[in-house]
């Protein structure tokens, strides 16, 4: 993620609020002045807080997942990123331009050229062929027909639907329809793709396949994506970073590893409890410093241990441990041993607890 921290910020949300209801304006003012809670806003103003004080930055080339249960405000939040919903307070900057300050025409151009969107409902026009559907965004932009059909054709080939272009949406399976939705979004070549629970309605096998394909395609094309899901496993599979939402607020943002190893509160901890650590937790999180290791096992020959890199996951570490005589693996970075993973560290890592010094049993926070 190191390269991401220096990459350009494409979407910047600054303390974004959305309150729904007839008196949302008054409710927003009261929240700003008196700091009402969600329940108080509902009681006093009969208004519902959709999103509360959300801050997030999406950088170029990053897949940013927003995970939350239904009613957590994630769908509202993603719709404020292209202003399908206007925020009650706060700002959304896309490519350093405040969406609220754009004219109707500028906003249309922003949506058409820079922000693609894929919906859970797919929304393919039933009276148009797959090819015409994929070309819809370009048609709206006013591109001449041969050109837009050529571009749409290329987009359909990228999602593996080259043989289905003359079919109608009703002839396609759910997974294929969602691929058309994706092709329609990338045909316009936007920098940012907003994905609103695109795979939630699909069956598990197709879903995993699409998740992997989507991640690959997004990385290959160098796009940024904001991906909404209610499934933490999906967020972990796809996202470079994950934001967890509850009751309209973002309660934690981080990489999958950070969230699983260091949940911000009990709510997140409950979520990550059932998540497999095998591919999530890396050697650098479970290793102990060489000094600690030598304190517990004096005289052991560090140079004789099997070695691995700091980014090796638990799965790989278990494989190595099977081949080692003494159950300890040296973690090597830049040519020097930076730590040691013992079998005990490994087991704790599987359980989701951060590295523990072999003798003291005291947790060492990464």
């Amino acid at each position: 993620m190191a390269q991401n921290e220096t990459a350009e910020v494409l979407i910047d949300c600054q303390s974004l609020w959305k309150i729904f209801g007839d008196r949302s304006g008054a409710a927003m003012a009261a929240v700003a002045e008196r700091g009402l809670t969600k329940t108080q806003v509902l009681q006093e103003f009969d208004c519902v807080v959709g999103v509360a004080a959300a801050n997030l930055q999406v950088r170029r080339g990053e897949i940013f997942c927003i995970m939350g249960l239904s009613g957590s405000g994630k769908s509202t939040l993603i719709r404020m990123l292209n202003r399908l919903i206007a925020p009650s307070a706060g700002r959304v900057l896309v490519k350093d331009r405040d969406l609220a300050a754009l004219s109707a025409t500028e906003l249309r151009q922003m949506r058409a050229r820079h922000i693609g969107m894929v919906f859970q409902s797919v929304a393919l026009l039933p009276h148009r062929t797959v090819l015409e559907n994929a070309a819809f965004g370009l048609e709206v932009q006013g591109l001449p027909k041969p050109e837009r059909l050529r571009t749409a054709e290329a987009a359909l080939r990228k999602v593996g639907l080259g043989d289905w272009m003359q079919r109608y949406p009703s002839e396609l399976s759910g997974g294929m329809q969602q691929r058309v939705g994706l092709a329609r979004a990338i045909a316009a070549d936007p920098e940012i793709i907003l994905m609103d629970e695109p795979f939630s309605a699909l069956d598990p096998l197709i879903r995993r396949q699409l998740q992997d394909e989507f991640r690959q395609l997004t990385k290959d094309l160098g796009k940024s994506a904001v991906f909404i899901t209610h499934d933490l496993e999906e967020a972990i599979r796809i996202g470079d970073r994950i934001a967890i939402m509850k009751d309209g607020a973002i309660i934690q943002v981080g990489t999958a590893e950070e969230i699983v190893l260091d949940p911000a509160d009990g709510y997140v901890a409950d979520f990550v409890a059932g998540i497999s650590r095998l591919h999530l937790v890396k050697a650098h999180s479970v290793m102990v410093p060489v000094a600690d290791f030598l304190k517990s096992f004096p005289g052991r020959d560090i140079a004789g241990l099997l070695t691995t890199g700091p980014e090796a996951d638990i799965d790989a570490l278990i494989g190595l441990t099977m081949h080692s005589d003494d159950g300890a693996i040296a973690v090597v970075a830049d040519g020097s041993v930076v730590g040691v993973v013992t079998t005990r560290n490994l087991l704790l890592g599987v359980k989701g607890t951060p590295a523990v010094a072999p003798d003291t049993g005291i947790a060492r926070r990464a």
Binding site: Q109, F119, A123, P126, F136, V140, Q141
Partner: protein, 282 residues
Amino acid sequence: MDSSIIVTTFDTATDSALGWISDHGGALFDLISAVLEGFYGALLWGLSQPPDYVLALLVALLGWRLIGVRFALLAAAALLFCAVMGLWPETMSTLALVISATILALLVALPTGVVAGYLPRLDAAIGPALDLVQTLPPYIYLLPAIALLGYGPATALAATVIVAMPPAIRLTALGIRMTPPEYIELGHACGITPLQMFFKVRLPFAVPSIMAGINQSLMMAFGMVVIAGIVGSGGLGATIYDSIRTLDIAKSIDAAIAIVVLTMVLDRLTQSASRARREDNP
């Protein structure tokens, strides 16, 4: 006593208002009458040119393309039966009246329906007016029409146009309003203009509803045929009206059969036109 004065005053006022309108708007109503009769006359002239079997063949061809062989044969046979009954000119005159009335009604109803579909307030305002038009006995429209336009096809046409408008307005507005919200959202997310939203998203979804409205308007127009006969529309309506006055029951039944044939053929054709569109592009 008081109440009778109120009623008398109202009636006198209505009479004098109507009188005033026909005195001062004479030129306008002559123009309207001329336009209506010209339109109807042109359509009737066109329909009267080909011999009966050519028109029956054309209808059969259209029916075969849109519905199927069985309907095509039946429709052609039924139309030729009208000719055999010696009612061909009357049948064509009624057809011209119904089609011209429906076209004129649609010219007003479709744009009105589209606007009402966009503006819920206008829709709410039009609603009671349409209810009124649809619940009043159709005879009511004949009297002011006679007073303003005189006895003849123009009056029949005007009354029929009024009766034929409501279904098309309602169903067009419904079709435009009922666009599934996810497609509206898709349009906005793609950066669509309002005009594109209408032609590329709302209208395609509204077509089945609009076609149903056109079909309903056509059926309402047929319902007026006999009534229109009273004010001199000519055609099958006049035949029925005349045979009722002379108690010529057999002839009135012949004319009624011809009306049923026309109604069924046009009903099936317009219904299938909307369905065929959906089947071509599922």
